[in-house]
Amino acid sequence: MKVYETVIGLEVHVELATKSKIFCSCTTEFGGEPNTHCCPVCTGMPGTLPVLNKKVVEYAIAAGLATGCTITRRCKFDRKNYFYPDLPKAYQVSQLYLPICRNGGIEIEVDGVKKTIGIHEIHMEEDAGKLVHDPWDDCTLVDYNRCGVPLIEIVSEPDMRSSDEVIAYLDKLKLILQYLGVSDCKMQEGSLRVDINLSVRELGAKEYGTRTEMKNMNSFKAIARAIEGERKRQIELLEYGKPVVQETRRWDDNKDSSFAMRSKEDAQDYRYFPEPDLVPIEISDEWLEEIQKKQPELRDEKMLRYEKEYDIPEYDASIITGSKKLADIFEATVALCKKPKEVSNWLMVETMRLLKEFEMDPEEVQFSPKNLAKLIHLIDSNGINRTVAKEVFEKIFGEDIDPEKYVEEHGLKIVNDEGTLRSTIERIIKENPQSVEDYHAGKTKAMGFLVGQTMKEMKGKADPGMINKILLELL
């Protein structure tokens, strides 16, 4: 059997996190009743005209700079013409001839091997609306809320050779975009959409094989499965001497297979031409510099800084910076409590445990740094012990409660009143003569039992150090 190589390039559509749409002032908020986030401009009513949202250009430039692209200093929009009910103007404003960013790349690492995946271009465009099928009336309705939501399309070179490389590329890309704040990259809300261009060829062959384009994967796992499935399908075809047909295929994750949507023969002629309603975008040195200056610290730099500045292990730094949200919480909490190691521990151990338990993504973490800092302060000042602290943290994680109030209201404060503790211990000693005897006979376990009994009596609110001290004294 021949040995095949898989060649993969990606087209990644990313919804930008601007407050308003690309050509009008409508909100970009996800959800909302159908057709409530639109106006004459984004629904393409006759006579209306687009006005470019500058923020979109800035976000696109930021993404380009972070991925090593060359910025096109005079770029233009073009019209892509096609008929579909979700596209009210019957053309999409996009960029064909002069995309805003070109010739970049991202370094990935798979199994210890580093590799750069080229970025062919990044261009700006508007999103289309959504068709909703109403099974009750058996009709199709259109929701224009998404019309005009700004997108960037990041087109990679065909540099990836496996699903592992693809996932590594996407992980890295997603993190860059999240760190830049240009997108929340939520696949389930459609703000990150990936099309896979895949072909196979015999290892060592110079020419690329015929490629197919795969759409409709809604998770990274589905992407990996779709790649494996399509790779196998194409190899099988070739093994049986059949040609691979250039076509667009739709992935069905439930069936774990894909089907052809349209072949190259039905490919539309989009009749691109320069959008006459918008003027070319001139990107001045000053503007570019301004955006460059505002570029936030990205993950790699952040990791190094954490190790150096906060003296936390590389492993911790990599886990924490692996999510923009966690890194933000980490830094904000450290700024409040000045205890990086403590903060790191709470994130690495308890937060991770709870995320796993609730099957959540780190980006979904909701609690505020202020409350974690307060919790750490409570422990430090001997206000609560560690067992209570874990219980309180679960509440912070779940409901972002104020730990000080919570501890107060639930009477969880460590009892520092030595008199109460002493009298409790005296009673425990009296009630457990056997254990006292065992202790004096040298059985250390007995000591632990007595501490435990005392703690139980104190409902967990005693300082274990103090219990030990008094016990030893009385015994």
Binding site: G47, Y91, P276
Partner: protein, 486 residues
């Protein structure tokens, strides 16, 4: 006194002085237009009730001083039917928009409203502004008030005819390849196509976005200058709108052309030009010369390429701009259909007229892959060359003078049978749009059939003041000729 024979500024003055009330003027206008329009068919929609209640409103704004000394306050105006009027039919004279009421006003309508205008209705046009005769209107042709066997020109034929027939004091038209100037010439009225970017296109239903401009059609140069002053200025809703402080056009109404350098392109007065039109235009040039202007002929060798370049670019943009009329969201939708493709096909087949279909087909063709470079890209290069040619000419001349159209108004039915001939009628106007320049058309006499001849003056970018001054100076020397209105 015959109210409707006044110019817009004359009426405005009488309204401000209290001599004529806004309601009086509006009623007089409505009465005349309802009577005459049976014959000329300049209007598509008449806003009778609204105009009357608006007249009362404007009167009280004038009385309380809120409109200041706005020269057009209270003067009734007609609007070409491709300019959006909130809540009122805006059809582009097409079946496909036969029920379309935009939920917004065009920016020019907002500006007119602030100036106290009273809109009396929407006027006829070639369907989607495609045509030079107003015969392609779905609602039937408009007839030329000078001679009803002739066309009023187009595409703003309804606007020009309404002004000529005294069915409107003034009108707003739009000009993509001559659509203000040519009907102005055919109907013996005055119209300005401003520099591209001077007047906001927001709310103008697009034909060819890179060429379309809204402008005034009125009875004389002074009216045009005053109207243009009201409607021009930067608009944040139109990205191609220009920031310019130079929009005081009425100050250019000065009878003085001493030392003004005027060039006449030889190609504009040579082959293909009707001899009576040539005589009229050259006589006008002589008048300006006698008033102290320096007039000479020169070569502007770019004229020949203007028509094909124009039809390629305009059709390409139109094919894209008009794709949104698909029967899904608004406008006409076919009655019986089987699935989505069928809705598109039947709606568009039934909703658009011949000329619009022809241009959309040309446009789709020139943009299609494999032909883009040969047609569209080449046309863009020609456009750039034409602009260069004019730039060079304007190094030597302040304005360029020539005819507006090669003939006076053609007979009804003549052009439609030969579209290529109709396209050639745009020879003197389209290059102005391709170069984005301002130009004015004003009457310079009549031919032996008593049909008006149009004189065209072209200015450098934002040189509206130059052409207004020259036109005004010329206008002082001639009587305003009127059609015989029953």
């Amino acid at each position: 006194m015959d109210i409707t024979s006044l110019t817009a500024l004359e009426l405005g003055k009488k309204i401000r002085s209290g001599e004529i009330s806004v309601l009086e003027a509006t009623k007089a206008q409505l009465e005349i237009l309802k009577a005459r329009d049976k014959e000329y068919h300049a209007y598509v929609t008449i806003f009778e009730e609204e105009a009357l209640s608006r007249a009362k409103e404007v009167q009280s704004l004038i009385d309380t001083g809120e409109l200041g000394d706005s020269p057009l306050a209270g003067v009734p105006v007609a609007i070409k039917d491709n300019i959006c009027t909130k809540g009122n039919l805006t059809t582009c004279s097409s079946k496909i928009l036969n029920n379309f009421k935009p939920p917004y006003n065009a920016e020019v309508i907002e500006r007119l409203n602030r100036a106290g205008a009273v809109i009396i209705g929407k006027v006829n046009m070639d369907e989607f502004a495609m045509g030079s005769t107003t015969e392609t209107s779905y609602y039937g042709p408009t007839l030329n008030p000078w001679n009803t066997a002739h066309v009023p020109g187009g595409s703003s034929g309804g606007a020009a005819a309404a002004v000529a027939a005294e069915e409107a004091f003034y009108a707003l038209g739009s000009d993509t390849g001559g659509s203000i100037r040519q009907p102005s010439a055919f109907c013996g009225v005055t119209g300005i196509k401003p520099t591209y970017g001077t007047v906001s296109r927001y709310g103008l239903i697009a034909y060819a976005s890179s060429l379309d401009q809204i402008g005034p059609i009125a009875r004389d140069v002074s009216d045009c200058a005053a109207i243009l002053e009201v409607i021009s200025g930067h608009d944040g809703k139109d990205s191609t709108s220009i920031h310019s402080d130079n929009i005081k056009y009425t100050t250019a109404l000065v009878d003085d052309v001493k030392g003004m350098k005027i060039g006449i392109p030889k190609g504009y007065i040579g082959k293909g030009l009707d001899s009576e039109v040539r005589d009229g235009v050259l006589k006008a040039a002589k008048v300006l010369e006698s008033k102290g202007a320096i007039v000479e002929e020169f070569d502007l060798d770019i004229v020949d390429y203007a028509i094909p370049a124009y039809y390629v670019i305009a059709s390409a943009e139109a094919s894209s701009n008009l794709s949104r009329y698909d029967g899904v969201k608004y406008g006409y939708r076919t009655k019986d259909f089987d699935g989505l493709q069928d809705v598109y096909k039947k709606t568009r087949s039934e909703g658009f007229g011949m000329e619009v279909k022809r241009r959309m087909m040309i446009g789709a063709f020139v943009l299609s892959s494999g032909y883009y470079d040969a047609y569209y890209n080449k046309a863009l290069k020609v456009k750039a060359r034409i602009k260069e040619g004019f730039d060079k000419a304007f190094e030597r001349y302040d304005i360029i003078l020539g005819p507006t159209a090669p003939t006076t108004a053609t007979r009804i039915g003549e052009s439609l049978s030969d579209p290529l001939k109709m396209y050639l009628g745009d020879i003197y106007t389209v290059s102005v749009n391709l170069a984005g320049l301002p130009a004015i058309s004003l009457p310079c006499g009549v031919d032996r059939n008593r049909l008006p001849i149009g004189l065209q003056l072209i200015g450098r970018p934002f040189g509206e003041a130059d052409i207004i001054r020259a036109a005004y100076s010329y206008e002082q020397t001639r009587e305003y000729a009127r059609p015989d209105l029953r």
